[in-house]
């Protein structure tokens, strides 16, 4: 350890100022480790996973227990979990079996339903964003269209089905239309809000740069409103999934909605319960998917 010289006023400071700057040598780069041993890092990660996964698992087990106890008397109206497992094992264990044209696994049925959702929701997303941007930007479009939208959006999806069947005369496009008309409203409304919330400063920049309408739409409006748009899309995808299951109950076909209705007509309650579980899980995954796409597209930028 060097001992520091005692500073005297004048003499020593003068000497320092007359010293040459030290010769430059390239710095040595030393990689830093986090300092934690692997075992500890692994333990921390495991703990984080456990904290998220174990509480819902415990609650699930408790709920199953309550369900089992509530309906275990003979002659109970609903089957118990154990009964469901016994009678519908094949459905639970193999989602993708194919025993015949009408006897396919629930996984296949879900995919058929998802295909219709993809068409209907895809259409709703594109048209919804465009119309929402129009309402958000133009006061007169808002005054003209908004009251009509507010009335139409309260009509439940199934109420659209008869009109849709009469218009399209075929169950496939009718189902897609029902999905479209159900899921478009949150997309329109949220997009309009997002567009209205574009900060005046961004509009001023667009004005100073003299951006034309198309440039403004793609470079400023869509990125600025993106968090709101994706909120609308998330709500929309949830509603689409609700709508397709309901629509399929009435229109038939191969989807999972029709499977529930058919199982009800054949009094196969365990099958219905398994189908419900599938529907819930797929709905959850769809929401997570749209949310993940949203955070990638918006690159984590929060709504302004």
């Amino acid at each position: 350890m060097l001992s520091l010289p005692i500073l005297k006023s004048g003499g020593l400071t003068q000497k320092i100022s007359m010293q040459q700057s030290p010769a430059r040598t390239p710095a040595t780069v030393i990689p830093l480790r986090s300092g934690k041993p692997f075992a500890q890092v692994a333990k921390e990660k495991l703990a984080a996973v456990a904290v998220t996964v174990i509480p819902p698992l415990i609650v699930l087990v408790l709920l199953l227990l309550v369900w089992e106890l509530a309906f275990s008397r003979p002659g109970a109206s609903l089957p118990t979990p154990i009964q469901v497992w016994r009678e519908a094992q094949d459905l639970i264990r193999d989602p993708f079996f194919e025993n015949g044209p009408q006897d396919i696994g629930l996984g296949w049925r879900v995919l058929v339903s998802l295909q219709r959702v993809a068409f209907g929701f895809g259409l709703a997303a594109v048209i919804g964003v465009l119309v929402g941007a129009l309402i958000g930007q133009s006061v007169w479009a808002m005054r003209g269209l908004d009251p009509i939208f507010q009335v139409l959006r309260t009509v439940p999806p199934l109420a659209w089905l008869p009109i849709s069947l009469a218009a399209f005369r075929d169950s496939a496009p009718s189902a897609i239309f029902v999905i479209f008309i159900t899921s478009i409203w949150p997309v329109i409304i949220n997009t309009a809000v997002g567009v209205r919330n574009i900060p005046q400063d961004y509009r001023n920049i667009a004005a100073v740069l003299q951006l034309n309408s198309i440039e403004f739409f793609w470079r400023i409006l869509v990125p600025a409103a993106a968090p709101y748009i994706f909120t609308g899309l998330r709500i929309g995808i949830g509603l689409s999934w609700l709508a397709i299951v309901a629509a399929e109950m009435l229109t038939g076909g191969v989807g999972i909605g029709f499977f529930i209705w058919d199982a009800w007509n054949s009094s196969r309650l365990p099958d219905i319960i398994v189908a419900l579980a599938y529907i819930g899980i797929v709905g959850f995954l769809l929401d997570k998917l749209v949310s993940a796409v949203g955070s990638i597209v918006t690159r984590g930028v929060q709504a302004s």
Binding site: P199, D201, Y202, N204, I205, A207, V208, L209, Q210, L211, E215, R219, I220, P223, A224, A226, T298, R299, V301, S304
Partner: protein, 267 residues
């Protein structure tokens, strides 16, 4: 910057009306700004300084009068009157480089090649000492750095006039001092015309060639224009005891706090 950037404000008046009520914000503002000048506009809050700047920028329309740039009337925004906003207003989904590129690619789409534009963007970022952070997003840089990028974006448009709306108002005192020095350095290097709004007397006198003092609203107008006859380059530490500086400072303070006091809030 060899263009003739002669800016004339002719009897500008601005009133806002909502329903039946009309408020006259600006009245009879007339002045001439010469090429290469640095002009500050100072006044109490609510006297219409930002409105005046927005009128020069073309973001607000005049009610009476006209803004004349190089013998032609201007009443809509454009990149030849670039604006640096108080809130930097960088687009948060673009990096620093992309924010400046947005302006450059739009303004110089047909006039410079892609390579030239890239070089020009980097040149402007280097001017404000932000080239090292060109791939960062606005959320990852400090307020002072964001404001620098805002200035780089304004300069990159090669404007005839650079309009600055309280550019350093949202920053702490130390950063403000650094940025004031930066902008003086840029002004000396480029010789462009700058119009700045501020409510900081020291900043106005340090940076400008002329200080325009506005009276209080409503119907605010130009009270006085002070010529700041200090040689450039100006260093703040040297100016502290400079007679011209202190006289200019008292003149402005006297205008603002004695003759045109801020209207007191009614009890």
């Amino acid at each position: 910057m060899a263009n003739n950037s002669y800016l004339k404000l002719e009897q500008i008046g601005k009133s806002f009306s909502r329903g039946a009520a009309t408020t006259e914000v600006l009245r009879d503002i007339s002045m001439v700004i010469n090429e290469g000048e640095y002009v500050s506009i100072i006044g109490h809050s609510g006297c219409g300084k930002s409105t005046l700047l927005n009128i020069i920028a073309g973001l607000t329309q005049v009610t009476t009068g006209a803004v004349i740039l190089e013998e032609r009337e201007v009443n809509s925004p454009g990149p030849e009157r670039a604006v640096v906003f108080q809130n930097h207003s960088l687009l948060p989904w673009l990096t620093v480089y992309e924010n400046v590129a947005l302006a450059v690619n739009k303004v110089f789409a047909n006039k410079k090649s892609r390579a030239e534009r890239h070089e020009w963007i980097e040149h402007n970022l280097q001017l404000v000492h932000m080239l090292h952070a060109k791939d960062k997003r606005p959320a990852e840089i400090s307020g002072g750095m964001k404001q620098r990028v805002g200035i780089a974006r304004g300069l990159a448009m090669e404007p005839k006039i650079l309009l600055l709306d309280e550019p350093f108002g949202a920053l702490d005192a130390l950063t403000r001092a650094h940025l004031q020095d930066s902008i003086m350095e840029i002004h000396m290097k480029l010789g462009n015309t700058m119009v700045m709004i501020t409510h900081d007397v020291d900043e106005a006198i340090l940076l400008s060639d002329r200080v325009v003092m506005m009276t209080n609203g409503p119907a605010a107008t130009i009270g006085e224009i002070l010529d700041v006859k200090l040689a450039r380059p100006r260093r703040r530490l040297e100016l502290v005891n400079n007679k011209t500086y202190t006289e200019a400072r008292s003149a402005v303070l006297e205008f603002l706090y004695a003759r045109h006091k801020a209207p007191t809030i009614a009890a």
